[in-house]
């Protein structure tokens, strides 16, 4: 799915095919997350579940700018990122069930999807826990002279953690090839941005550390992609770390068990008018890029892909209890 051609910064024109592809990716995320919500309520998925519905434009916009040898570090709201990065939906769904065929062998669950093949280095359940990791991966690339980018996704909540400030400073100080993507959805669990941050214009926080930073409408996949491409190109040209604040919004609760006492419905409805999927399809229809058969076809393909993923997960095996202590160490060590 990602742009394979290594040609120097070939800019994809907003062709019909390219736009259809962006639409398809966002619909895949939307339907997958809806199905996970349903499966959770049927007790098939347990533990925590954080849905990405409403923020699809950010993952769809950024993933397209990454090359196969780049790396991704994400958060516990990372189903969409994993799928768009190329982790098979079957393996992701099996992981949600906790089956051994899951992309983390069933051990991680919703918040800890890993796939080294696509250089997807996991969800992380500790807010801002991934930022130092991303900085470290970029450091290795820089030291070995590898022309790679490490994309690090995090939310507005992470901006309050010490690790955010330490990571940005270090990345800037050592000019490390990191793309910091802040998915600012206005809420850190139950705390609104303006009740957590003295400075709510988050991309200015990054500028203070001499990191090139920009804010973009996180509900507009085309805008996100354009900005992300500019930044990844700059990084590959050695300009050092970049910070992209995507102003977006989650239509669902923080996690499954959240009565959302902290925000009112009117606000949610208001943001739903900027639904990234609806917006793109409407714009494509206006410009004649979207034919009547396109969306139903995308929905059918997505439905089939999800049904196959659920069937794969249902048929999966539980990891045998005897393997409980396997892989605690690379070489067997008995404490």
């Amino acid at each position: 799915m990602s742009d394979q051609s290594p040609a120097p910064h070939a800019k994809p024109h907003l062709t019909r095919d390219h736009l259809l592809d962006l639409l398809r990716q966002m619909v895949r995320i939307r339907r997958f997350e809806e199905r996970c919500g349903e499966l959770y309520q049927q007790e098939k998925i347990r533990g925590f579940l954080h849905l990405y519905i409403g923020e699809e434009a950010v993952a769809a916009g950024v993933m397209g700018c990454l090359h196969p040898e780049d790396a991704v570090v994400a958060t516990y709201r990372e189903h969409g990122h994993a799928i768009l990065r190329g982790v098979p939906m079957t393996a992701v769904m099996a992981e949600m069930y906790g089956k051994a065929e899951g992309c983390s062998r069933g051990r991680g669950g919703s918040m800890h999807l890993f796939n080294v093949g696509t250089r997807f280095f996991g969800g992380n359940a500790i807010v801002a826990g991934g930022l130092p990791l991303a900085v470290g991966m970029a450091l290795a690339d820089r030291m070995r002279g590898r022309p790679r980018v490490t994309a690090c996704f995090f939310g507005d909540g992470a901006v309050a953690e010490g690790e955010f400030h330490e990571s940005l400073n270090l990345a800037a100080l050592w000019k490390l090839p990191v793309l910091f993507v802040c998915e600012n959805n206005l809420y850190a669990m139950g705390t609104r941005l303006d009740r957590a941050q003295s400075q709510t214009d988050l991309h200015l926080k990054a500028a203070v550390y001499q990191v090139a930073s920009e804010a973009v409408d996180g509900m507009d996949v085309v805008a996100v992609e354009a900005a992300a491409r500019r930044m990844t190109d700059a990084i590959r040209d050695g300009a050092g770390p970049q910070f992209l604040e995507c102003r977006t919004y989650r239509f669902r609760a923080h996690s499954m068990f959240d009565p959302q006492l902290y925000r009112d419905k009117a606000e949610i409805e208001d943001w739903k008018r900027h639904d990234p999927v609806a917006r793109l399809s409407a714009w494509m229809r206006e410009t004649g890029m979207l034919h009547d058969a396109d969306l139903p076809a995308i929905e059918r393909e997505t439905e089939a892909e999800i049904e196959a993923a659920v069937a794969f997960a249902e048929a999966g095996q539980w990891e045998p209890v005897e393997d409980l202590a396997k892989d605690v160490y690379t070489r067997e060590v008995h404490p």
Partner: protein, 336 residues
């Protein structure tokens, strides 16, 4: 607000551990204006485990303070406020996030009094949910009470019953030194009856929850119910097990533990921490030092398997201490 205003009408009532803890919070906030609650989503959201639900509306944003996700800083701020005349209750959403605040807790809260030559004290209470059991996977399932019980300058308590959930907080707030109170996440839904008059309880002594003569089962916090279940199963095999609930990990009530082991001559310690360097190891060492001549069998430990807690339910349950493992450990000691 006088004491009289907080009496509760009914003689006894069914209540959950969560509600008992909320009652303790409310009672403390009403009785002492220096008391305030601070932590992530304790206000509008009503608390990650809904313990402080409703308090924001009753006491307002000044005394029920939501914080940004900055554990090191808001825990440090709680310590600072305590230094300066307040009696803060700092809720750290889970022990897993408390790792980000360990520096403040160990190098400031626990150390300031001694390091200042006794000039200051830090009357702060940290409430920290802990433990596994709900498939929250490795980063959200830690049980690190033993780490905190290692640090001189801290008091560490683990309320495992409704009486303790209702009664420990006020006593902890009166203590001039920092108290870390661990609430096991599997206890919040526990329901039972509680006398209306239950008030503050001591936070120093262990309690014998079930007398017995053949073996002493020593545990705390979330493992108490599993240990009592094991004792029940052992009774059916005519093995009389005494269950000791430590209640306080630091200071450890060695007297009660050693007296019990001297009577039964066998001991099994149940601890949700990982075996190596666990709190159970400390209790075992004290028994070896204090009751060696009374022992008829080696001190046994039933702890969590030394693996990051896996997400799938059947693996998580296999990793955690279970009644069957406790029963097996006891029978091994009895030579059965």
């Amino acid at each position: 607000m006088t004491d009289a205003d907080i009496t509760v009408a009914a003689s006894s009532r069914t209540i959950t551990y969560r509600d008992a803890m909320r009652e303790a919070l409310r009672d403390a906030l009403l009785r002492d204006e220096r008391v305030f609650l601070m932590g992530e989503d304790v206000g509008c959201y009503g608390g990650c485990y809904a313990v402080s639900k409703g308090l924001y509306d009753e006491f307002g944003p000044d005394r029920i303070r939501d914080t940004p996700l900055s554990e090191s800083t808001f825990v440090g701020a709680g310590i600072g406020a305590a230094l300066n005349g307040m009696r803060p209750i700092v809720e750290i959403m889970t022990v897993n996030f408390s790792l980000l605040a360990l520096d403040q807790i160990v190098n400031n809260a626990a150390t300031l009094r001694h390091m200042s030559g006794g000039q200051v004290s830090v009357p702060v209470v940290f409430r920290i949910p802990t433990g596994a059991g709900r498939q929250f996977a490795a980063q959200h399932s830690h049980s690190l009470e033993g780490w905190y019980a290692h640090v001189p300058g801290l008091r560490v308590v683990a309320p495992a019953t409704l009486e303790d959930a209702r009664g420990m907080l006020w006593t902890a707030l009166q203590d001039p030194d920092p108290v870390v109170m661990f609430e096991h996440v599997m206890l919040y839904n526990m329901e039972g009856t509680l006398a209306a008059t239950t008030g503050p309880v001591d936070i120093d002594r262990a309690a014998i929850r079930r007398p017995g003569t053949d073996v002493t089962l020593i545990t705390y916090g979330g493992s108490l119910s599993k240990t009592l279940a094991a004792a029940e199963a052992l009774a059916a095999d005519t093995i009389s097990a005494e269950v000791v609930d430590l209640r306080s990990l630091r200071p450890l009530d060695g007297e009660t533990v050693l007296a019990s082991v001297a009577r039964t001559r066998r001991a099994v310690i149940v601890d949700e921490g990982w075996r190596t360097g666990s709190f159970a190891a400390e209790v075992s060492a004290r028994i070896m030092e204090g009751a060696f001549w009374s022992l008829d069998a080696p001190v046994a430990r039933v702890c969590t398997a030394e693996v990051p807690i896996p997400y799938p339910r059947h693996l998580e349950q296999a990793a955690l201490p279970q009644p069957a493992a406790i029963v097996a450990a006891v029978k091994a000691l009895m030579g059965a």
